[in-house]
């Protein structure tokens, strides 16, 4: 019995020791591995299919564009390209010279790859890229490092949108393309191709993707940028690897950040977490501007919002100060134009601010006057005979009919609490005027289908969290040719004058001339109010202090390729001093 107990004890001790040993096993150079928390798992690493934010985050470390924005000024600078493109107005062509770069498998990145990428997009009409390449007539190989793009007409977005797309390797995709072309549904075959180990030219390369758990990216030893200076940055990467861990909720990710299980949570943090994080001396918080637009849109195709006076009255009662200070807890900017204020070059600030600094009573008074002058009447007027503000009731439209109740569609609070709350508060402001508004949260998919495809709505609140720096979206959102099912002119705004300016802006290459056109367009939208811009939230991000230094702040946050090329492990920095 004694012997048995002895054996039992020694077995137990052995098991405990091995468990402790196993659990304490860590990588040799774990300090040089950056650990990033992702809010959701990337869906795919097929660059032609990836439309979700997390897939794009991973792919941005692997596939690289010819040009990209530099951090300080957001200006376009050559990346895979060696220098700025040379434009020939006679042939409407751009000549691009490539840097000497290699793919992660060690083969050369050449003009053949660029032409091949262009042909895939054009031949298959890859939905996420096709519209940016529609006007590219031909792409020609001049030599191994030079490529020429012929356009059907000059296009403003060619540099900012077309040449900023990813370049893929011909060797990797050639066979897949050949097979896909023979299929009945070539695009489907291309999109459904499973990419296990993408070959890229970026600073990192995928080593392992354990589904549902993590993605392990190793430093790409063939990265063209290593050691060279671009835009004042001597690029690395100085990290050995990046591990992306998947988190189901922000709560747990924040705990992981506080505990040091991750070094960064690559998702905007809700202001509610800030107080806790700011108390933690190991955490550094970054506040960045976002190129984002959150707005209220109206359906101009039918009553009641086909009346501009009602839209103006709505703009008068909406108190952006309240939305930004109370709902966004001051972590946002009031928005008056369709182009976010943070996009300094393209944003027109000389637009109507509709009672921005007025108190509530004055707003209601002004909105009341606008409506009264347009022929609206009330059973109980929101402004009594003594000029006091009272609760308005029984509003009638200029044709004498009672205004029917309508809904303001918003995404649900679990998807975006800010938009859902904004809808509720705007509903109350409308009711102050006697306007029978009802805020209704709706699942995001249904909301998009209702406003984009069915056009069966009165008003909605939506937003774009990451607009491109190029303001071509102003044209896309309001051009009358986009007023169709699945078109981006969700409001049904039709203005021939705007269309003319929009068409002109599309083909104007000179930025200053284009800016003038864009300013006119923004003023028109501010006057006609198919959308009422509401706010741009600030991007709040948090990282661990003391392990890595060199985060590069730019618009849309510190999670950018510059950061990942510049981050250095702390011991690395200390050694070099």
């Amino acid at each position: 019995m004694k012997n048995f107990l002895k054996i039992k004890h020694s077995t137990l001790i052995a098991i405990t020791i091995s468990i402790v040993f196993c659990l304490s096993c860590k990588g040799e150079n774990e300090t040089d591995i950056l650990k990033i928390g992702l809010a959701e798992e990337p869906r795919t690493l097929n660059v032609w299919l990836a439309s979700d934010a997390n897939s794009k985050k991973i792919l941005s470390q692997i596939y690289q564009p010819l040009y990209m924005s530099e951090p300080a000024t957001q200006k376009l600078i050559p990346w895979l390209a060696k220098e700025h493109p040379v434009y020939n107005p006679e042939t409407i062509s751009y000549t691009v010279t490539l840097r000497k770069a290699k793919w992660s498998d060690g083969t050369d990145l050449t003009s053949k790859d660029v032409v091949f990428t262009a042909n895939i997009i054009k031949d298959f009409r890859v939905p996420l890229f096709a519209s940016k390449w529609d006007f590219v007539k031909k792409v020609e190989i001049i030599d191994k490092q030079t490529v020429r793009f012929y356009l059907t007409k000059p296009m403003a977005i060619f540099l900012t949108r077309t040449l900023t797309g990813p370049v893929v390797q011909k060797k990797e995709w050639e066979k897949i393309v050949q097979i896909a072309k023979k299929k009945e549904k070539p695009l489907k075959t291309l999109l459904n191709h499973k990419i296990e180990k993408p070959v890229g030219s970026g600073p990192f390369v995928l080593k392992e993707w354990r589904k549902g758990s993590y993605l392990y990216l190793k430093k790409n030893t063939y990265f063209f940028g290593e050691g060279i200076i671009i835009s004042g940055f001597k690029l690395g990467p100085f990290l050995d690897a990046i591990i992306f861990k998947i988190f189901g909720t922000s709560d747990v990710a924040i705990l992981a950040l506080k505990k040091g299980t991750i070094d960064m949570f690559w998702k905007g943090i809700q202001p509610g977490y800030l107080a806790d994080l700011q108390q933690n001396s190991d955490i550094r918080i970054f506040f960045s501007e976002k190129s984002a637009l959150y707005f209220m849109g109206f359906n101009l195709r039918k009553p009641p919002f086909n009346d501009i006076n009602l839209r103006r009255a709505a703009a008068a009662v909406i108190d952006r100060n309240f939305i930004v200070s109370r709902i966004l807890q001051n972590y946002g900017t009031k928005l008056f134009s369709i182009v976010p204020l943070e996009n300094k070059f393209w944003c027109c600030q000389d637009v109507d601010h509709y009672c921005e600094s007025h108190p509530r009573d004055k707003r209601i008074l002004l909105a009341y006057k606008t409506l009264r002058n347009a022929g609206y009447t009330w059973k109980i007027s929101p402004v009594d005979l003594d000029g006091n503000i009272v609760e308005g009731k029984g509003i009638r439209t200029p044709n004498g009919k009672p205004m029917e109740r309508f809904t303001i569609l918003t995404p649900p609070a679990d998807y975006d609490p800010h938009r859902a709350m904004s809808g509720m508060i705007i509903q109350e402001w409308f009711r102050d005027l006697g306007i029978p508004a009802y805020s209704r949260p709706m699942s995001f998919g249904s909301l998009l289908q209702t406003v984009k495809t069915k056009h069966n709505f009165e008003a909605f609140i939506l937003g774009y969290g990451k607009l491109s720096l190029d303001p071509d979206y102003v044209r896309i959102f309001f051009h009358s040719k986009n007023d169709k099912p699945r078109g981006w002119n969700m409001s049904g705004y039709r203005n021939p004058c705007f269309d003319r300016l929009a068409d002109q802006s599309k083909t104007t290459i000179d930025p200053n001339q284009r800016k003038k056109l864009l300013f006119k367009m923004q003023k028109m939208i501010s006057r006609d109010l198919p959308y009422i811009p509401l706010y741009t939230p600030k991007l709040i991000e948090a990282v661990r202090k003391g392990k890595f230094t060199g985060w590069v702040e730019m618009q849309n946050g510190i999670g950018n390729i510059w950061s990942f090329c510049m981050l250095k492990p702390d011991h690395h920095t200390k050694k070099s001093f």
Binding site: S18, C22, L23, C25, E30, K35, E41, R43, T44, L49, S51, R125, P127, L128, A130, S131, K132, R161, K185, L187, K188, L191, N192, H193, K194, K207, R210, G212, S213, Y214, Y216, I243, K245, I246, F247, G248, T249, D251, V252, L255, A256, K258, T261, S443, F444, G445, S446, L448, Q449, T450, K452, T453, Y464, S468, D472, Y473, I476, F477, N482, R486
Partner: protein
């Protein structure tokens, strides 16, 4: 012979029900608002490109044609390709299913064993202190809000005292090592399993305890228990050999159904613990209109639930000699 006939009839019923479920699933997803393309909110994507993608996905065809393709694919064992992952639906399900099965099946079996055992004890000591405490404990655990409990468990055991990992099924730091042995990986997974398992156990064991207790109390009033006592049998034998097997019938139904539903995991548990199971995928598939993935997942659940019911019917006849079909 009667049992055979009954089972044959039940199999036919199950097949019919399965096809009804298949059809309802097909229609539900097609008639639900939204489509897989509508969530691609890139302003540069034109309506023409969106329509092109829809046609490539085969969603522009009339509903009856899509249904025929759906049935044809089903019979050839092809559940299609996920719209968002771009990979085979069955591949995604087989990737996630083992994770869900490990966590949920283990938790159900464990909580059932403990629940049955404590239920027996509680009923045997009816109206005594031990019964009161066990019943109260079971009621409290059973009514706890799962995401809250999960977060509290993570906060205390993983964050505050650091006994367990915060989330996930494994530690990348161990798994990326080329020299990591199988044993250390196994230990790592088990280490990750403890916290979610404990949470699910706390939530589930109470219901088994309460069912077992109430069923035992009914059984203990039966004549054969009095007879056993009159024969002078030991209390332990009466409890474990005479009362418990007869009282276990409702618990068996409950366990079988829980095991069947365990394959759909629990979206909330999997989300809070970042457990890569099928529950999270189901939620994603439904909210993103990923029809092939959602359909295949629900079909799998339907098939397992129907088969479990079938097995429970057989098990009943085995467990209770009074039941004959």
């Amino acid at each position: 012979m009667e049992l055979r006939k009954y089972l044959f009839r039940r199999l036919i019923e199950i097949t019919i029900i399965f096809f009804v479920i298949m059809t309802i699933l097909f229609l539900l997803f097609r008639l639900a608002p939204g489509d897989p393309v509508s969530r691609m909110v890139d302003p540069s994507m034109t309506p023409e490109d969106a329509r092109h993608l829809i046609s490539q996905l085969g969603l522009d065809q009339p509903l009856y044609q899509q249904y025929i393709i759906y049935l044809r694919n089903f019979f050839s064992g092809d559940f299609g390709v996920s719209f968002h992952y771009g990979t085979s639906v069955m591949g995604i399900i087989w990737d996630r299913l083992p994770n869900t099965a490990i966590l949920f099946t283990t938790s159900i079996i464990l909580s059932a064993f403990v629940g049955i055992f404590l239920g027996k004890i509680a009923s045997w000591h009816k109206d005594k202190k031990i019964d009161t405490w066990l019943t109260l404990g079971a009621l409290i655990c059973h009514t706890l809000f799962l995401p809250w409990l999960a977060l509290i468990m993570i906060w205390f055991f993983a964050y505050k005292i650091g006994w367990f990992p915060l989330n996930g099924i494994l530690s990348p730091e161990i798994w990326i090592q080329t020299d990591a042995c199988f044993f250390s990986k196994l230990i790592d997974v088990l280490h990750h399993l403890i916290l979610p398992l404990a949470t699910l156990f706390l939530i589930h064991f109470g219901s088994y305890l309460l069912i077992m207790r109430s069923s035992m109390l009914d059984t203990l009033k039966e004549d054969y228990i009095t007879t056993a006592r009159a024969k002078g049998l030991k209390e332990k034998i009466i409890r474990n050999h005479h009362a418990a097997p007869n009282a276990a019938l409702p618990v068996v139904t409950s366990i079988a159904l829980s095991l069947a539903f365990s394959i759909n995991g629990g979206a909330l548990t999997e989300t809070v613990f970042s457990w890569p199971g099928i529950g999270r995928e189901l939620v994603f598939a439904v909210s993103n209109n990923d029809y092939p993935l959602a359909q295949a997942s629900f079909l799998l659940i339907a098939a397992v639930v129907l088969l479990s019911n079938f097995l429970v019917d057989i098990l009943y006849a085995y467990l209770d000699p009074r039941i004959r079909y």
